[in-house]
């Protein structure tokens, strides 16, 4: 019983250290080691942080919310709801990073901060859905009721995102497109840095998720203890 939490603490510390190491390597790689992009110059280096953030936001971030929302509704275990909430919070952070770094890069590269291109617009809609999910949690009280309402939003929102992407993509292919997002050929060193950065961001996501879930569990424990203490005092306030 006593060994459990201690071992978990150790694992979290190790995970944190590994994440820190990968992040450091990714930073060095992105800012120093990776070659300067021929046409865009140094500003292209934002790509090594932009793309991994988008990956976390669109990939694991929201998919975990969806999967655990279903798991919660199927089993009624609040643990799943806590992980879903943590994932949504981290997702909103990474979506925001994507939406901030994107325009910063787009302005020098494309000449505009924003274009109503499918990926950009979908990310923006995704941001609204994430924020809506968190807002719903913040007004829905607590316990199983909040978990149920949030789970429904998590499921409907996740199903909506690909439909949003598809509708914008289809709409944009019919209307003339002002800008095409022309890619650039990745040099082998660039690819290597991108991979390290993707790994670093994924680790960071997992690390933050573990920490956030731990805080949520602790606050649930405190709540339980408080109720118990109140009961012992004789049911008074």
């Amino acid at each position: 019983m006593d060994k459990g939490p201690a071992r978990r603490d150790l694992m979290v510390t190790v995970l944190g250290a590994v994440t820190f190491f990968f992040m450091l390597v990714a930073l060095l790689g992105a800012l120093v080691w990776a070659p300067k992009e021929a046409t865009m110059g140094d500003v292209q280096r934002i790509f090594y942080f932009h793309m991994p953030s988008a990956w976390i936001a669109l990939g694991p971030g929201f998919t975990v919310v969806f999967a655990l929302s279903i798991a919660y509704l199927a089993t009624g275990r609040l643990k799943y709801d806590r992980v879903a909430a943590a994932s949504a919070e981290i997702g909103v952070v990474f979506t925001t990073i994507t939406l901030v770094t994107g325009p910063l890069w787009a302005k020098p590269a494309w000449g505009v901060y924003w274009t109503w291109e499918p990926r950009l617009t979908t990310t923006l809609v995704l941001w609204f859905i994430y924020v809506g999910y968190l807002l719903l949690r913040s007004v829905a009280g607590d316990g199983h009721r909040r978990a149920r309402l949030a789970a429904v939003y998590g499921i409907v929102g996740w199903v909506d995102v690909p439909i949003v992407f598809f509708s914008i993509w289809w709409w944009r292919t019919i209307h003339p497109r002002v800008l095409t997002s022309s890619g650039f050929a990745l040099d082998s060193r660039m690819t290597a840095v991108l991979m390290v950065s993707l790994a670093a961001f994924t680790l960071l996501y997992v690390f933050l998720l573990v920490l956030r879930v731990r805080i949520e569990s602790m606050s649930a424990t405190v709540q339980t203890l408080r109720f118990r203490a109140r009961d012992r005092r004789g049911g008074g306030v």
């Binding site: 609204f128 859905i129 719903l136 309402l149 789970a151 939003y153 409907v156």
Partner: protein
Amino acid sequence: MGPVNALGQAWAITKKDLVAELRGASTIVSMVLLGLLVVLVFNFGTDPGAKDVTLARSGVLWAAFLFAGVIAVGRSFATEKEAGCLDGLLLCPVDRAVIYLGKLVGNLILLFVTGLVILGFFTVLYNVGLGAGSAGLVLVMALASIGFSAIGTLFAAVGAGVRARDALLAVFIFPLLVPLIIAAAHVSTVLLAGQGLGGAGLWPWFLVVYDVIFLAISFMTFDFVVEE
């Protein structure tokens, strides 16, 4: 309890809502007025002399529909809650899906009627000759109303259970309605440009698919929303 019986029960809920609405008529009046105001206000934002305003115009139409619609779906559960009737409704010995269906159809009728009124004023105020496109626009309005009330009814039920519901409902449902609005605006742009429904390609079918997907998900999840 056969399927006919269930439909009859759902219709009883719809009828109750519609009768209450007709006696009080508060929701539909505020919906129509808000819709018309949006049409009016947006008018100042578009240059009347501009050449290609059809796209902006159909945007105005759907913005008006969105804002008016969010009032309708919001009221559908809020009034129940305020009057203490929601518990009574949930205690009815009927399936939860029946309650959802009854509420959904009530909202659908309100949305559709309001949409048609907005559409009527829109054609007059923007001097749009509908002609051949009018049947198509009514069809799009019907398809958009179905999708809107599927999501709207679900989240109105969510909203009835939380604090500060009225302001937040729009925040919850507008992002989810983005594909619906894109499709509806696209089809109506084609229709307003004088082409028939055939000019819109597969977009009307996109609306149908959207409606089916979210009707299915809403039916599956509504149970969890109203569970106590």
